[in-house]
Amino acid sequence: MADNVTPRVRVPREASAGESVSVRTLISHPMESGQRRNGDGNLIPRQIINRFTCDFNGENVIDVTLEPAIATNPYFQFDAVVDATGTFQFTWYDDDGSVYEETADITVA
């Protein structure tokens, strides 16, 4: 597991039914591209987050395939429709097999 991987997500605390809310996510991760060389001229092996998914109450919102060209600390912003009170489940998949998870609750008035 890469060091100091911290997921952060931001969703509104409440929304009205059927509203499209903006979701922002950030995860601190070096996203080593596999193109860089270290001081000895050897390639530093690739280690990136290769997949990110967001689900709301079990229904998929977005499923992103990441390549090395995604910047360090991958950031995503997208919209989700909420029709009932529930939980967003965020999942990041690392090249080394680690899985980072985060949840966020939203209340529909």
Binding site: S20, E59, V64, P68, I70, A71, V81
Partner: protein, 140 residues
């Protein structure tokens, strides 16, 4: 053999082009491959998709982009001038509010950023924007 100034300059330019140009050529083939893999060789339209990227990016290590294609199933983003042209593929699920997303990407130098959307009816649309980069990403 006497070399004229013109010959020397010409040779130098050719050498420089070979040196800097080769990665671009290799990348062009990879780019076509990546596009064909996504579209299956289908032709792409050009309306209904928006790609927002800065005209000039100061830092190629983190270039903010935004794609928006109402009614799309998936949007693939490519960087034509990177060593590996793939950037990301966004697949939208039933709970997506808009078929739009923003993220930050790495660009190795001045190049075109391309977004291709696969629509629900199986057609493809494409948007392309040139971005100038002051400091290259990808370890450059």
């Amino acid at each position: 053999m006497e070399l004229s100034r013109r010959q020397v300059v010409g040779t130098g330019l050719a050498a420089a082009a070979a040196f800097f140009g080769l990665p671009q050529i290799a990348s062009a083939e990879l780019l076509d491959e990546a596009i064909n893999e996504f579209t299956g060789g289908a032709s792409t339209g050009d309306s209904g998709i928006t790609l927002i990227a800065p005209e000039i990016a100061e830092n190629g290590n983190t270039v903010p982009i935004e794609v928006d294609a109402p009614g799309a199933e998936a949007i693939m983003v490519l960087a034509a001038g990177n060593p590996n042209p793939d950037v990301a593929t966004f697949n939208f699920g039933p709970a997506a509010g808009r078929q739009a997303a923003s993220t930050r990407i790495r660009l190795a130098g001045e190049q075109d950023v391309i977004a291709i959307a696969r629509m629900a009816d199986g057609s493809f649309i494409q948007a392309r924007q040139n971005v100038r980069v002051t400091i290259g990403g990808c370890g450059g």
